[in-house]
Symmetry: C2
Subunit: 136 residues, 2 copies
Amino acid sequence: MRTKGGYKTRQRDIILELLKNNTDTHLSSDEICEMLRSSGERVGATTVYRYLEKLYSEGTVQKYVTDRARYTYTEKHCREHFHLKCTECGSLFCADCDFLSQLCNHVKGDHGFTVIPSKTVFYGVCHSCAEKSNAQ
Amino acid sequence: MRTKGGYKTRQRDIILELLKNNTDTHLSSDEICEMLRSSGERVGATTVYRYLEKLYSEGTVQKYVTDRARYTYTEKHCREHFHLKCTECGSLFCADCDFLSQLCNHVKGDHGFTVIPSKTVFYGVCHSCAEKSNAQ
DNA sequence: CTAGTTGCAAAGAGTTTGCATGGCG
DNA sequence: CGCCATGCAAACTCTTTGCAACTAG
């Protein structure tokens, strides 16, 4: 959680801009490079990797590791919420309620483990995807 | 979820045996190779990879992907549990209790989202790493 | 000017594939 | 004997590191 901002560069600007414009998906560094390339920009893969890790360590983006590392811009109003990620359609939902808030206390008390909500994602199937499956 | 059993071989026997004797941990293919090697057995890495994927597709083992793929033998009576992954030391813990079991019902009922425990990992800081941080 | 940033090339790490050999049934 | 399994080597993919050139402040 470093607080130093670093220099402001063209590459960092456009990477962050792209992340802010795609808060509904999880992008891999590869996809980010590709999206930038198709819009005429060119940023080295190494730079993307390094900047994403920097943003992650600052808490600016969230990181999800499944088969590869994926990142999503952390919206201010979601900072202390949990996230529900649908494995079918890829949608990301925010979940904030008493039960989930208590979860941290429980895991801390009974399991001695301090959960970090902003880094934790529940994987599963969303309502609409579940309906589709039932319909078949 | 194929049902074909395949041939019974020395390698498959000892890999499955090892998995059954280590239901409390999550083993990577690399660790499995190493454990077998230190007990005098020798199995090629490729064979371990291929057999684990086969067991996974059959449902015989569960697969967890964090930084690398890890597998655990699926015990019949074992209900699904969540995982706690320490971002400091990388340790992976299992969490199986009523509170966490209720979590699925709650998220399903109040959020219309079906959580899949085996795919969900809680990220945070474990007890011993938290102590180290406090000591500093 | 100085320290942080970039990006190519190369190294790593984990996993998969090609293919000839070996073993179960 | 036929077919599946094995395992070495090599290919592959994602990610990190070394390092020289570059640039923001």
